[in-house]
């Protein structure tokens, strides 16, 4: 479980995060949603430790990241997997080499164990046929799956996904969403997903946190979102005609 308490973060004189407190439970897909520029990426990067916060606490199972020494942060990061918006696979390595890379870097496994683990992760994301290909030779969806395989190779306790569906078609997006949800439940991971894809919100939103202009305005599940009275959230979620209709159907039902 990850918990943030009273997080504040400013860039020069602009305050981007304003006193944010939230709990991200394990075994659930926790979504951070909000408009572009609302501060959701800054929040995620602050939780990971890529940004230093001005004040507040970031607790990884009661271990406060803000009070950790550099060495401890490095150790903590071995428990963290991350799926980047652009996959961030290493260009010079094949899919298999990308997946085995964290194992070679940090695990104390034997060579055979590493190969088995990498193959297991690749099979888990259904990418066996492309394991010897370079990132430039596979599609965007496959790159995302390869990145998921790499992020789970060290058996992380925490998984961060920064806009996992950006640049993907709706069908592939569903596959990625479903894969993330399955992995979260299967390995009991605390997953935090940063997204503004409404299909993801409605599909896998176990715990949703809505950020507006740097403030947490709402927290709840995908089922509670229809009964929410927050105007900013309603404007954001039900912006399209399709979701307006779905909301009406939900209320009439």
């Amino acid at each position: 479980m990850i918990e943030v308490r009273n997080l504040n973060k400013s860039f020069d004189d602009k305050q981007v995060l304003k006193n944010i407190s939230a709990v991200f439970e394990n075994g659930k897909t926790n979504l951070i949603i909000g408009r572009s520029g609302s501060g959701k990426t800054v929040l995620m990067k602050s939780i990971i430790g890529l940004h230093q916060v001005d004040s507040g606490e970031i607790l990884y199972d009661n271990r406060d990241l803000t009070k950790m020494r550099f060495k401890d942060i490095k150790e903590l990061r071995k428990e963290v997997g991350m799926l980047f918006q652009g996959s961030a696979l290493f260009d010079s390595l094949t899919v298999f080499e990308n997946v085995i890379f964290p194992l070679e870097m940090f695990s104390s496994m034997t060579k055979k164990e590493m190969i088995d683990r990498a193959n297991f992760c690749i099979n888990r994301v259904n990418l066996t046929e492309a394991k010897n290909k370079y990132p430039s030779e596979i599609s965007g969806g496959m790159q995302k799956r390869a990145a998921i395989a790499r992020s789970i190779s060290l058996n992380p306790k925490y998984l961060f996904c920064d806009e996992p569906n950006s640049g993907l078609d709706p069908q592939t997006s569903l596959v990625i969403d479903q894969l993330i949800k399955e992995i979260t439940q299967e390995f009991d991971i605390t997953t935090i997903i940063n997204t503004h894809d409404m299909n993801s919100v409605m599909g896998i939103g176990d715990n949703i946190i809505f950020i507006h202009e740097g403030k947490k305005e709402w927290q709840g599940s995908k089922d509670e979102i229809f009964d929410c009275n927050n105007q900013n959230l309603n404007d954001f979620v039900f912006a399209s005609d399709l979701y307006k209709k779905i909301k009406n159907v939900h209320h009439n039902f």
């Binding site: 890529l50 490095k74 990061r77 991350m82 980047f84 290493f90 070679e104 870097m105 940090f106």
Partner: protein
């Protein structure tokens, strides 16, 4: 009495000196701070220099896994060193040949011995061309390669991915490049010297500008082995400058493709300037 007076005088002198010194220090500090506040470019320069040394400190730490370091090292040696052999051969052979022709044409004097052409060609190659000019050319090839590779990794979040895994990205990416290039640079320089001299030999063999025997005698005459040591020391320093400066600009590239291009250009320009500056310093230290 005289002694007391002298002691008094000495105390007053010390007091005045310390006061003047404090006043001077204080005034100098004020002037410096005023200069810094007024001159934002100077502050930016100071910031860049500080950032460079912080990066170098991060690079020269113990690798997370030596096995991974030794796996990267031969790849970098091939990429930065072996793949530069082609350009080194082409440039050295032509410059060696041209230098021989030009030296001969500009020293047409009966008072000068015939072997002077070979001697001048050899010393120019050893002292300046193979160590400095070759490094300036390699700053363009290797420097832009490193800056654009690391810069692209930065903007495509590959470096962030390494950091999140807990890898010291600066150490993992930059250290093998620096070690590989610094190790191979002396060989490239010696190779360039040999090929340059071969270029001159080809002029002697295939044209009638100079005879082969005069050229061979010239390149052997009054040979000072220390010149080779001097060239190797220079090349080690330049190799470090090329790789570290290029890696620095690539590592701190932010934005998109445009910024990677700018980082690459800055890397080549600044490493070339530093090479020229250190060439002057090292020549002054080692030859004067």
């Amino acid at each position: 009495m005289q002694l007391e007076l002298f002691e008094q005088f000495y105390k007053v002198k010390c007091f005045l000196f310390s006061k003047t010194k404090k006043l001077l220090n204080r005034n100098l500090r004020i002037v410096f701070l005023y200069f810094c506040r007024q001159n934002t470019d100077f502050m930016e320069w100071l910031k860049t220099v500080g950032q460079y040394f912080i990066l170098i400190k991060t690079v020269f730490t113990k690798p997370d896994r030596w096995r991974m370091f030794f796996r990267q090292l031969p790849k970098e040696m091939e990429n930065l060193g072996v793949n530069s052999l082609g350009i080194v051969i082409i440039i050295s052979i032509f410059i060696g040949a041209i230098m021989t022709i030009q030296t001969k044409l500009n020293t047409e004097n009966p008072l000068l011995p015939r072997y002077s052409t070979g001697l001048v060609t050899r010393d120019t190659l050893l002292l300046e061309f193979s160590s400095t000019i070759m490094c300036l050319i390699l700053a363009g090839k290797v420097g832009s390669n490193i800056a654009s590779e690391i810069g692209t990794m930065r903007i495509t979040e590959q470096i962030d991915a390494l950091e999140i895994m807990g890898v010291n990205s600066a150490n993992y990416l930059i250290l093998p490049k620096i070690i590989a290039f610094v190790t191979l640079m002396p060989f490239l320089v010696i190779f360039s010297m040999g090929v340059g001299l071969l270029g001159g030999y080809m002029v002697a063999a295939f044209t009638d500008v100079i005879t082969v025997s005069d050229y061979i005698y010239g390149i052997q005459y009054a040979f000072i082995p220390y010149y080779v040591t001097y060239a190797i020391v220079k090349s080690l320093v330049f190799a470090f400058i090329i790789t570290s400066v290029a890696a620095f600009y690539g590592y701190y590239a932010y934005g998109g493709a445009l910024e990677v291009g700018k980082a690459s250009t800055k890397a080549v320009v600044n490493s070339s300037i530093l090479i020229l500056l250190f060439n002057l310093i090292l020549t002054n230290l080692m030859l004067v």
